[in-house]
Symmetry: none
Subunit: 142 residues, 4 copies
């Protein structure tokens, strides 16, 4: 299995932060590996204090659940009690929201990218655009 | 960056408690600094046992989220599960309610003020009036 | 039963902070009522971020355990596992240390005073001196 | 008060990782601001899964306790039960160990730097050397 390197993670985060600058939004961004463990986190100047933790939760959820965090809405809504309990089994909260995307290449899951600080749509778009730009796969089954 | 002093915090709290007396309500009031850490808390005689903790949560939320707690309703309603999880990443519950206002001067966030013990409208009004009276800024972007 | 008023709590805290100034130490001080609920907390300018929480834990422990926190050492040492579990049943950690003293008058327990920010001996001395000066009782049975 | 920028944090982390390379050690490094909130984290390729969390705890402890983590040994040893309870009042564990240093300039505390992955002595040396090289202050009172 290929491991995501720090250099690759930094390239993804740099691209994500650049999108934040274009949007005029101070973002926090995080990347975890395929086991859900942190590789890199950055908080832009002016981003709120909790945004790094939110970005980490999104990245972790996308990596560990092996799908983007916005694909967890249905589960969260169909059984909210059980969904909430998932987080008690995990190292970080499992979140159903925009802004967490699985990092995937050649069918392999390499980790997760999380973004916080913009609107939900902006967080999600920043994730998707940078991963697409750098050649990662964005297609996930239901 | 300026730090809120204990003397300033006490002036704000005294003004807030004075409003409680005028309303005939026993209030609890709390102030945290820009990092969300406690500076001062007071419970009026007769205010209920949990009101200081509620005031602390409101002050903390307003400081850390960098906006009044009544601006968090939309987020809380649009994604209640995710909003609830924010509190697990924080030192105190992140609350979407009236009565927590960010303390801001010259565009800088200095901390948060929380009030509990009145009606939601009274808690909110007490926060806003005292901060306005003492020359703090009350305008926040969406 | 007499209830400790906010005015009395503020008098005790003011006297405690004055001692901190004489010592050249930035203290945090807290008072809880006989049920362990917060009445007043103050962090002096320059006192570290966690000192209010430490002062609250000391005040709470002294009120709820009905004895100064330095009288809890023996228990903590004779059965540390059980002592640690006490905190899981409580609203704040039950701490065995200097700087938490029960507020008592006419044989009645009115609450607890906690001090943090000095050396353990300074925290303890500040508590005892101010309570003695203001006419509270400092004698506790084993 | 000055805020530590992301650019400054990245410069410190880059210098720290460079020292790891010279030592042949895969390090994880973290920086938090003066309120203990994350600014930047990096895990070198090959560094163990928990090392970023360890680095965060060290950085947090040094910032929030306002002194290097190796100055917390005495406290931790003189009252281990109470010291352990500090972590329950904090956002991350308060650790007494090598490898966490307060970031200070012109007498102001700007945040904390944490390093994990080397021997305790290497972690500590990496922190101190990079902060010294970049002009931060390393002197702390007892």
């Amino acid at each position: 299995m290929t491991k995501l390197t720090l250099a690759e993670a930094e390239r993804i985060l740099a691209g994500t932060l650049r999108r934040g600058e274009q949007l005029g939004k101070a973002l926090s961004v995080a990347i975890v590996d395929d086991g859900g463990h942190l590789i890199s986190v950055k908080r832009s100047d002016g981003a709120r204090a909790l945004t790094p933790s939110i970005a980490i939760a999104k990245a972790y959820s996308a990596a560990i659940m092996e799908r983007p965090t916005n694909m967890l809405y249905d589960w969260a809504q169909s059984n909210p009690g059980f969904f909430a309990q998932l987080s008690t089994m995990a190292s970080h909260p499992i979140v159903a929201t925009e802004g967490g995307v699985t990092i995937k290449r050649d069918g392999e899951i390499l980790g997760g990218l999380g973004v916080s600080g913009g609107t939900p749509a902006e967080d999600q778009q920043a994730c998707e655009e940078v991963l697409k730009e750098l050649g990662y796969e964005l297609v996930f089954g239901g």
